[in-house]
C-alpha cells in the first residue's frame, strides 16, 4: 500500500514493518505520525484519546497551538511535562498523518489490537523497552487495555478512562446507525453532509440527557416554516465542524474499530486504574464494574459523578487530575 500524508512541524514519523492484522489481513507500508514532548531522558507516558483526538495533546515550544487535553498535560500539570516524556500518535485509519483509507485504495480493517501492535512498533523504533505509564481515554483506553494484554512486560502502569474490555450492544447499535448514515451519504454523493449528521447523532450519545436538558431546554422556533429546536443548532455546529476535518472513510474505519474491540481482562497483569462517569451512555458504569472485577491487578476503580457523560474525560478535569496524581505518583 502506498501512502500520501502531510506532516506539520513537530510531527515525527515511524515507518511500520508489515503489520499482520488481527482480522487476518496485512498492512504494508504503513506509517505512524507521533509527537513527543518533555525531557528526553524522562520516563515515557503514552497519552491517547478518542477517535477524534490526535497526536497533539497539549501546547509546547515545538508545537505551540492548543491540544486536545490542555489543563491535564503540560508543565506542572497532572501529566507534568517537566518530569515526564509524553508520546501521542495519530491513529492508523484516522484523520491525522498516520496512514489511513484513501479513495483509490482498499484499506484493511484495523482494530484496537492492531493499533496496540503499531504503537509497539513505534516504541521499537524509538528503542523504548518499557513505558512508565499509559493514560488512555475512550478509544485510547481500549487500545491501552490491548497493549497491556499483548505486551505486559513493556508497560508499568495503565490508566483507562471511559474505556472497557468490549463495546456494549447499545453503543454498537448507535455506531452502526452512524455508519449507515455515512455509507448512505457516500453512495448518494453527499458524504460530508452525512458525516455531519452521523456526528450529530454521536454527540447525543457522548453527553448525558441531563446536560442537554439543562443547556437546551427551550421553545422551538419556526424557521422557514419548519420547527427547529435549540439543541439542533448545537448538533449541527458540532457535526459540521467534525465533517470539515474528518474524512468519511476514516470515520467508518475507526467507528467500526471500536465495535470490534474485545480483550480478556483476566489477561492483563499490568497494574491498572480505572475511571468511569456515572452518566456515560457509551461505556456504562456497569460495564466498567465488570472490567474492574476481572482485572488481576486492579489498583483502583473510581466512579465519578458527572453530567457530561462519556465526554467526562474532557469536561471533568478535577476528577481526572485526582486520578492521575495517584497513577503517576
Amino acid at each position: 500500500m502506498s501512502a500520501s500524508i502531510t506532516l506539520q512541524p513537530g510531527a515525527e514519523l515511524c515507518h511500520l514493518p508489515v503489520l499482520r492484522l488481527a482480522s487476518g489481513g496485512e498492512l504494508h507500508g504503513g506509517v505512524v505520525a507521533f509527537e513527543r514532548q518533555g525531557p528526553v531522558d524522562a520516563p515515557l507516558v503514552i497519552v491517547l484519546g478518542g477517535i477524534s483526538a490526535d497526536r497533539h495533546v497539549s501546547a509546547f515550544a515545538g508545537v505551540p497551538g492548543p491540544g486536545w487535553w490542555e489543563g491535564i498535560v503540560g508543565p506542572g500539570q497532572a501529566i507534568d511535562t517537566e518530569r515526564l516524556r509524553v508520546l501521542a500518535i495519530d491513529w492508523l485509519g484516522g484523520a491525522g498523518s498516520s496512514s489511513g483509507p484513501r479513495a483509490d485504495e482498499v484499506y484493511p480493517f484495523v482494530d484496537t489490537a492492531d493499533q496496540a501492535v503499531a504503537i509497539a512498533a513505534v516504541l521499537d523504533h524509538l528503542e523504548v523497552p518499557v513505558v512508565h505509564a499509559w493514560v488512555g481515554s475512550s478509544y485510547g483506553g481500549m487500545v491501552g487495555l490491548q497493549f497491556a494484554a499483548k505486551y505486559p512486560q513493556r508497560l508499568q502502569r495503565l490508566c483507562a478512562i471511559g474505556a472497557a474490555h468490549e463495546s456494549c450492544v447499545q453503543a454498537s447499535a448507535w455506531r452502526a446507525v452512524q455508519r449507515g448514515i455515512v455509507e448512505l451519504g457516500i453512495a448518494r454523493g453527499c458524504a460530508p453532509t452525512a458525516l455531519s449528521l452521523a456526528r450529530a447523532l454521536a454527540m447525543t450519545t457522548y453527553r448525558s440527557p441531563q446536560e442537554l436538558q439543562h443547556r437546551f431546554a427551550g421553545r422551538p422556533a419556526l424557521v422557514a416554516g419548519r420547527v427547529r429546536f435549540p439543541v439542533q443548532d448545537w448538533l449541527q455546529a458540532r457535526g459540521d465542524e467534525f465533517a470539515r476535518r474528518f474524512p468519511p472513510a476514516a470515520f467508518l474505519c475507526l467507528n467500526a474499530s471500536i465495535d470490534a474491540h474485545r480483550v480478556d481482562p483476566k489477561s492483563i497483569p499490568v497494574p491498572t486504574w480505572l475511571l468511569g462517569f456515572d452518566s456515560d451512555q457509551l461505556v456504562p458504569i456497569w460495564q466498567l464494574r465488570e472490567l474492574a472485577a476481572s482485572l488481576p491487578s486492579l489498583q483502583s476503580f473510581r466512579e465519578a459523578r458527572s453530567w457530561y457523560g462519556h465526554d467526562g474525560f474532557l469536561k471533568e478535569p478535577l476528577a481526572v487530575r485526582a486520578l492521575l496524581r495517584e497513577v503517576l505518583a
Binding site: 502506498s2 500520501s4 502531510t6 510531527a11 515525527e12 507500508g29
Partner: protein, 289 residues
Amino acid sequence: MFARDGLDVAAVLAHKQRGAAIAELPGAEAIPADVAIGVVGADLVVDATPSSAAGTEAALARGRAALRTGAFLALCGKNALAAAAAEWLLPPRRGRVGINAVLGGAGRQLASELDELRANCRALAVCGNVTTTVIVQAIERGASVAAGIEQARQLGLLEPDPTLDLDGSDAAVKLAAVQGAVFGEHWLRPVVPATIAREEVGALDPALLRDRARRGATTRLIGRAVRGGALRVAFEEVPASSPLAAPPDRVVYTYELPTGVRVHTGLGVGHDRTAQALLADVLAAEVRS
C-alpha cells in the same frame, strides 16, 4: 510482436520451445520499436525496458510514438521520465502516462497531487535507492562497505548495471524525474542526471555511520532539489523519526508545502512489487475507444 491478421499463439510457443528467436519466425521482420508502436496502434503501451542512460533516446522515441498514436503509456524506465517529465506529465499529455513503477510505487500519488505540488512545493527530497539503504544498515550493524554491497546483491536489489546504484546515478535519475515533474516546464531544458552532483557508496565512512546510529540517527542517500536551485545527491545524517529514514522495503519522496511536508511512500521495490506498480498503472489506464 504483432501480426495484423492475428497471432498464432500456439505456433509462437512451439517456436520458442524449440529455442528459436522471435526474429526467426517465418515472415518476421525486425523493425524499431517506436515504428512498431506506430504500426500496431495499440490503446495501451507498456514499456518495461530497464532504465539506462544509453537507452534514454530510444525510450523517448518509444514513448513519443505511443503518445502520438493516442495510446496510454505505462512506463518503467526512469531515464525517459527524467528527460521528458514536463513533456509527458503536463497538458496536453497529462493523464496519458503512468509513472507508478518508475517512482517505486509512488508515481500515482505524484500524478494525482501534481497540480498542488507544482503550485506550492518549494523543495523536494527523495530517499529512493533501497540498495544504499541496505548497505548503510549493514554498515551500521558492523559490516564493511564491501559486505554491505554483497548483502544487497544477495537480496537481488542491485540494478542490472550495479554501478547505477553504487555511484548515485540511480538516485540522481529519480531526483531528475520528480524535479522535472514538479518544477519543470515545457520551455525549460530538462536536468541531465549525469550533471547532478552525487556521492558514491565508496565514500561512506563506517565509523561515522555507526556514530550516527549510536546517537539515534541514521544515514540515507538523499536527493534534493529546490525550486530554481541546483540538484544534489548525497549521504546525509537523517533523524530516525524523519520520513526520509525509510526502511529498505520502500521509497520516500517529500515535498515542502506551506501546510507542512507532504510525504509519499512507495512499495514498488524489487521485481514483484515493480510489476504490481506497473499493473496498477495498466488497470488505471484510460483506454482509447
